[in-house]
């Protein structure tokens, strides 16, 4: 695939910027814990839609920026992102033809893995978060997956992102 065939990089960039903003935008207290991992959702979508373009490398960069944005250990989100990006690229041909709810279930599992890796790092550095609330973001991510998927697919088709 040649670079000249690529189109619509701006849209991809914009979607990540919006995801970053949603990650830090202030929410009421009870909603803080169910805030989904927006950047992970957007990354998963692009990996699935354009696996030859968005992959482990972009995932790593996005994760690194997310680390700086949220003040976590540098490399923590980056590693988690690379792992889920790798998995979804391996699975993308199967997942693409799944019905939406089945896709959402797979996304839920990937997000759980993502969260588990983050938990692992927090544990190593001595500050494991307590409580089951930690496992809420993958569930809200799963519920929001159809919305993200349909919205981004529409945008992708409209702007002919390849």
């Amino acid at each position: 695939m040649q670079i000249s065939n690529h189109q619509g990089g701006g849209l991809i960039l914009l979607s990540f910027i919006v995801a970053f903003m949603l990650t830090v935008v202030p929410l009421p207290e009870f909603m803080q814990f169910i805030r989904p991992e927006w950047s992970a959702l957007v990354l998963l979508y692009w990996c699935m839609a354009l696996p030859d373009r968005i992959g482990v490398g972009i995932g790593w960069i996005v994760g690194l920026l997310l680390d700086v944005l949220t003040g976590t250990l540098l490399g923590q989100h980056a590693l988690a992102m690379t792992v889920i990006a790798y998995l979804i690229i391996n699975l993308h041909q199967r997942i693409r033809i799944f019905p939406l709810w089945q896709q959402a279930a797979i996304i839920w599992m990937l997000l759980n893995l993502y969260q588990l890796l983050l938990l692992w790092f927090d544990g190593i550095t001595g500050q494991p978060p307590k409580g089951l609330q930690f496992w809420l973001p993958p569930i809200s991510g799963m519920i929001l997956w159809p919305v993200v998927f349909i919205l981004l697919r529409r945008l992708r088709r409209h702007f002919k992102v390849k």
């Binding site: 920026l65 003040g71 540098l74 923590q76």
Partner: protein, 268 residues
């Protein structure tokens, strides 16, 4: 890479990346800023006048109080000289503003808008008008991150202002509670006691209020009492906060501001 970061080697990379992130923070903070600007410009003359008179009377009260303060300070100094102990130098403060972004809900971190260029240093204490808020854990050109005293990974050396009893208060992850886990059952501590910083550890200057004791539980069979306290600082309400320079850090602050001024002169 993670290990590298533990030893602060990645600071420059983090600083570079933070510049990429800065516009996002600015955009997220924009609505709050805009809202404040609109209320400010739309408030009527009447409300402004009222606020002005209120602030005026408050100012008068404060001044009267500070008059007494000066006298007390002088007396304190005399007594200290008599005791032969070191002089307590006044601390320098600088007003900073919180950037309205939310980080990890399981950690209590906030961002402020003053950075290295203003002389902010690692481990610097942060206050609001009511007490200690936290300490700086990261300062890069684009922003400064502060860990609040209620963060589960944070502990602060305190003493009970009533009797000088020293102990350590640790964060719980709840925004309105810190714990005193290391006090035996027979300690003299009561509900309502004020905890102030003890100055041990060298991070926080001594004598600033930290929390009020809200609950003392003696559990039979346990070695230590369960003591809860509520921070005096308005941790989730303050927008204007104070950065404190104390002790030898005042000198570095002076150097920074001096080089700033020289730079400005050179510009002219």
């Amino acid at each position: 890479m993670t290990l590298d970061h533990r030893q602060q080697h990645m600071q420059s990379l983090r600083a570079g990346l933070s510049l990429l992130i800065a516009p996002i923070e600015f955009l997220v903070d924009l609505p709050t800023d805009l809202g404040r600007w609109i209320t400010e410009s739309l408030s009527t003359r009447q409300t402004l006048l009222e606020e002005n008179t209120r602030l005026h009377s408050q100012n008068l009260l404060m001044q009267a109080r500070s008059l007494k303060n000066a006298d007390l300070e002088a007396e304190n100094q005399r007594l200290r000289e008599l005791l032969g102990s070191s002089l307590k130098v006044a601390d320098r403060v600088l007003i900073a503003e919180l950037i309205k972004v939310e980080l990890d809900p399981f950690k209590h971190l906030v961002r402020i808008n003053k950075t290295q260029q203003h002389g902010v240093y690692l481990d610097q204490p942060l206050l609001d008008a009511h007490g200690i808020m936290g300490q700086v854990i990261e300062t890069v050109p684009a922003h400064t991150t502060v860990r609040l005293i209620t963060d589960p990974g944070h502990s602060i050396p305190v003493q009970v202002s009533r009797n000088g009893l020293r102990t350590i208060a640790t964060g719980t992850g709840k925004i309105n509670q810190i714990n005193l886990p290391y006090l035996p059952n027979n300690t003299d501590i009561r509900e309502g006691d004020l905890l102030v910083t003890s100055g041990l550890g060298g991070v926080y200057p001594p004598g600033y209020p930290v929390a009020h004791v809200t609950e003392v539980n003696h559990v039979a069979g346990e070695e230590f009492a369960q003591i809860k306290a509520e921070p005096t600082a308005h941790l989730n309400r303050s927008r204007e906060v104070l950065l404190v320079w104390s002790g030898e850090h005042i000198k570095t602050l002076q150097q920074v501001t001096q080089s700033d001024r020289e730079g400005q002169r050179a510009d002219q």
